[in-house]
Symmetry: C2
Subunit: 165 residues, 2 copies
């Protein structure tokens, strides 16, 4: 599970606690042009290369209506990432920050997300732009994208609950 | 793992494939005022109630520098959600859509995300607004928030690679 990547200066790990608190199921596979981490873009671009999301056909019906969304948020499992790093020096500029202050793929639960634009859907295969992950990255979820600036959904009772903790 | 929620009209499940392809580790716990799903807001509001994110102290150093980000993206495990639903009718308006066309908590890998504003950090406890989940929801990740409209990071070789698949 942990890839023995060398650490950079000032990087630090903890002893991996080894807990397995919940299980993920891979629901498909992502196909991109990038076969090494060095080649991956730091962040996908909507004018980047066309990539493919192959959804496992057992989930075909869960795609019903997905074509109505021009942008989707894709969740994937960064299967090549070590998970025990708490301090990272990713920028080659001498600065070190905590894992939770970075969007680095090295994290306790290496889940990546990208917002993609959908070019075409053929059955359970989505052709999209905007990904940044390695070829063969396992797919874990697809959601319609709602930016933080999208108007909120209609209120429910909890929205206005007083209860500062 | 699957909570026996009743299905609504036209909703559909598949036989749960039972695979466990990767393991999550819970890195803390979220404290909110909401103790039933009916009370949870559909989406957190930045003027909503103050909530607390209790990070497990073994990850303390991973929070280094997190105070520089005014908005964080919080990832959590929707531990009360059933995972086998492919068609859902959540809106009480007679429409049915696929799970991947909805941001419903019912999904094969029930990972929720919220963008929160940070009010205060006390050691490994973050006081934030913008969450929408149940009290005691397990925490799985914290990342600085980068909206889709944030300028991209500097280019890497992969950004401009020609290689449509």
């Amino acid at each position: 599970m942990l890839e023995p990547d060398p650490l950079r200066p000032a990087e630090k790990t903890i002893d991996w606690p080894g807990a397995s608190d919940a299980s993920l199921i891979f629901i498909g596979e992502i196909r991109t042009p990038w076969t090494s981490r060095a080649a991956c873009p730091r962040r996908g671009r909507h004018d980047g290369p066309l990539c493919r999301i192959d959804v496992n056909p057992i989930w075909a019906e869960a795609l019903t209506g997905v074509e109505a969304d021009s942008q989707l948020e894709i969740f994937y499992w960064l299967h090549r990432s070590r998970r025990d790093v708490v301090l990272q020096s990713p920028r080659h500029d001498g600065t070190t920050r905590g894992t939770f202050a970075l969007r680095s793929p090295l994290r306790p639960n290496p889940i990546g997300t990208s917002v993609v634009v959908v070019e075409r859907i053929d059955g359970t295969i989505l052709h999209v732009r905007g990904l940044d992950c390695l070829d063969h990255t396992p797919l874990i979820d697809i959601k319609p994208y709602r930016s933080a600036f999208t108007p909120s959904a209609p209120e429910t009772p909890g929205d206005r609950q007083i209860g500062d903790t």
